[in-house]
Structure formats: C-alpha cells, structure tokens
Symmetry: C4
Subunit: 136 residues, 4 copies
Amino acid sequence: MNPTDQKKFAPIGHKRWAIAEGYIPETSHGPEPEMTSHESICVLNASDQEAHLQIWIFYADHEPVGPYSVSVGPRRTKHVRFNNLKDPEPVPRGTEYSSLIESDTPIVVQHTRLDSRQSANALISTMAFADTEAVM
Amino acid sequence: MNPTDQKKFAPIGHKRWAIAEGYIPETSHGPEPEMTSHESICVLNASDQEAHLQIWIFYADHEPVGPYSVSVGPRRTKHVRFNNLKDPEPVPRGTEYSSLIESDTPIVVQHTRLDSRQSANALISTMAFADTEAVM
Amino acid sequence: MNPTDQKKFAPIGHKRWAIAEGYIPETSHGPEPEMTSHESICVLNASDQEAHLQIWIFYADHEPVGPYSVSVGPRRTKHVRFNNLKDPEPVPRGTEYSSLIESDTPIVVQHTRLDSRQSANALISTMAFADTEAVM
Amino acid sequence: MNPTDQKKFAPIGHKRWAIAEGYIPETSHGPEPEMTSHESICVLNASDQEAHLQIWIFYADHEPVGPYSVSVGPRRTKHVRFNNLKDPEPVPRGTEYSSLIESDTPIVVQHTRLDSRQSANALISTMAFADTEAVM
C-alpha cells in the first residue's frame, strides 16, 4: 500500500484503563528475556495522533507511584513490560499491585502475565477495565 | 513526591461486581503459600475514601453465605484470597461457587486462580462483571 | 442467618450472552472427571426467580443445534459442562463451536476450559459477552 | 429441526473489535497442527447475513498491514488462526502486534493463544474489546 494511501482508522478505545491484578513473579525458568516471568500491558493506538500515557502503580501499603511516561506512535502497538519501568522507580518483584493508565488519545489496553516460576510456563491475559465515561 | 502533593485520581470502577466462576482446587504442588492452589479477587480503590466491601458466596445447593467484610484503603490495592475468608465461615475446597462483591465506593475487581494440582501450575484471570447501573 | 432473613439481592447481569470460542479437546491426562479436558459455563443467578436457560451451539459448517435447556435456581450458581450436554445431541469433541445463552432472568456467565491434553493442564477463563440491549 | 423451522436469532455483538495483545511464539512442542503455537480469533456470526470481515494488523515499528479478508456465513462460527493469514502478507512469528477487526454485520470476537514453546502448553483467552459506538 502506498504510504499516501494509508488507511485512516476511526478512533477506538478509551482514555482511562485500570488493571486490578498485578504481580511480577520473583523467579523464572527458561531463556531470558523471552521466558522471564513478566507482566505487561499491550497498547493499541489506532488513531493518527501520538498517544502519551501516564501509568500509576497502586500498592497495598503505601501511596501510588507515578507517573511512568510511555508514548505510542500513531497507528502503532506497544507492549510495555512492567519489569522494564524505571522512572520514577522500578516496580518491585513479588509484590501485589494495581495499575491505572491514562492517555490523551483513545487506546485499547490488554493485560498479560507470563509466569515461569515452574518449568512449564503459565499465561494469563484479559482486557483491562475501561473507564467509559472519562473525558480528559 | 511530597505527600501534600499526592495526586487525586478521578473515580474509576463500579460498586457491584460479580464473578460467576469459583473453585478452589483441593490439592497443590510447590512451596506454600506462594504456590498453593488459590482463588483471589484483586481490588483497586483509586478513590480518596476507604472502600467497604461485602462479599457474598453463592453455591449450587444452598443459600448464599455472607457477608464477608473487607476494607480497602484510599488509593490502595488489595488482593483477597478466598482461601483466607473465615467469617461467617470458610469457603470450602473442591466446591463450585460464584461471588458477588458490593462496595460503598467505586472499585475495579479482577478474578485470578492459581491451580497447582499438577506439577506445572495453571493460571486464569479475567475482569469481573461490573453492574454498570448500580446506585447504592 | 435465619432463612426468613435471607438477603434479597438486586438483579445483576443480562439475559443474553455469547461465547465465541468453543472447543472440547479430544484427549486428557489425570484422574476423571476432575482433570478431564472440558469446557464449561459458570452461571450466577442472584435473582429470586429460577432462571430458565436455552443454549444454542453454533458450528463452522452446519446449522446451530439447540436449544439445550438448563435451569438455575434462585440465588444459586451452576457450572455447566458442555461435555455433559446430551439433548438434543452431544457436543462433539475436537470441533470448533460458539455458544449463545438466553435466559428469562438476568444472569452472569463466565467461560472456562480445562485442557489436559498434555501432562500439565492449561486453563482459560473469560467473562462471556453480554448483550446489554436484550429485552426478552 | 426441520431447516424451514430454523430459529432466527436476534443480532448480537458489534461491528468493530480490537485485540491489543498479539504474538505468535516462534517454537512449538507436540503434534502439528493441533499443538502448534498459534494465535486465533474466534468469531460468532449469529445473524442471517454473511459477515464480511476486514482485519488489520498493527505493528510497533511500521504502518498497519491489511486488510485481510475473512467471511463468516450466517449462523456460523469461524476460528481464524493468525498463523494462516497470507494475503496481503503472512503475520511474522516472534513479533508483537495488535489487531483490529471490522465487519459489516454484528459479530462476537474472542482472542485465544496456544503457547507450546515449553513441553506443557499454556493457553490464554479473553473477549476482544468491542467498539460499542461503531456505526458502519
């Protein structure tokens, strides 16, 4: 397809998403980084604007930490590993958390974990919870 | 971040959630409590009020049992293992159930099970079903 | 709790649900029936009326089969294995299908599969898709 | 059931769906094609019209590729493996992507992955994200 013919996609998604479950296992089996235990959000930005995300991590026993800033280009996907978030601080392993994702452009967010604590890996995935009323 | 600068989060979530699937496997492999077969709800309370939850457990052959009372602090997450619920009575293992979660503050609820009946664990997770019309 | 004090629950759920994914693996490992490869729907009926469900199974290459009739008592859960549906005909193994669930009372439906084709079982679960506009 | 008595189903679903997570593992264990690592969408078309789908694949580092054209007959299900999409080009293995599914008829879409990189397979499944406002 000629770039000048690039299809325009109608917006899809929402600007605020939450994931109540969060946990990066402390141990792993198998080759890194592919089989390292990890938790990630997969983000689809089907719009024609760059999406600027702010991620907040909520904990059981202290105030939320954030914002972690992530950008997703127009008509692009990005798979963000929580393991790799560094600023303002790394997300601790073996700790329960929740996350809130705010974007200036509608996006779709899906949550996935690879758990390789045992020799056979386990996977979970679910659509994140969309705040359908957010106007930002 | 200075506590006096703590970000305020717009409310997100709903006050009533249901999980139709429920089952705590009777057996486990691996170190306890991390790898014990369990079922849990992960709750995000992004609001500035403490959330007071009442959980009801529905069974196949007798009346629902509850309420189990759980609190989640403002701007906090809590991962609640059904295995650990005790009052009014423990949730039996190897028994099919459903659950209903009612809160006085909007929350987000996600359901997760770790099944370690076999040597390699299996995981499931899904967002709970939100009653989007609940006014409590 | 005294039976005469039984809590009344506000209705929760919808009357039409769909599950696009359906597949009962042909083989299993581990003790039956607990570890038999199976696919099930978990139904929560929090209302005070018995719910009468009609399930239709959609196939890739022929007309839908149904209705399969299932009842769920008031304030009860029921886990229905597709493996056990018999009338009008059993659901074939190793065959791709989808399902549609219609109820005369609002219910919540969750889909789960246990796949024990290999020695370590795998699990999936997701909330079914609710038809939020159904008036029946 | 006599074909002339075939039940008519009220429409269910939506015309636009998105799946943010996408990844076909590069390796597999077990007999092909059943246990080949794959990712698929399961589509239910409960309507009386053939559904014409256009699938677009979004990548991290270049423009979306599509449309992949898929048809699902009236009152039929179809399980579409991303592994098998060929035109305009195959979906690469070991690469992160998202997908957008547009249909001229309401459908229900569910996302599933079988990951058999290790000797015990892992499975994920979740309902896709529905664009509830799409009018096409």
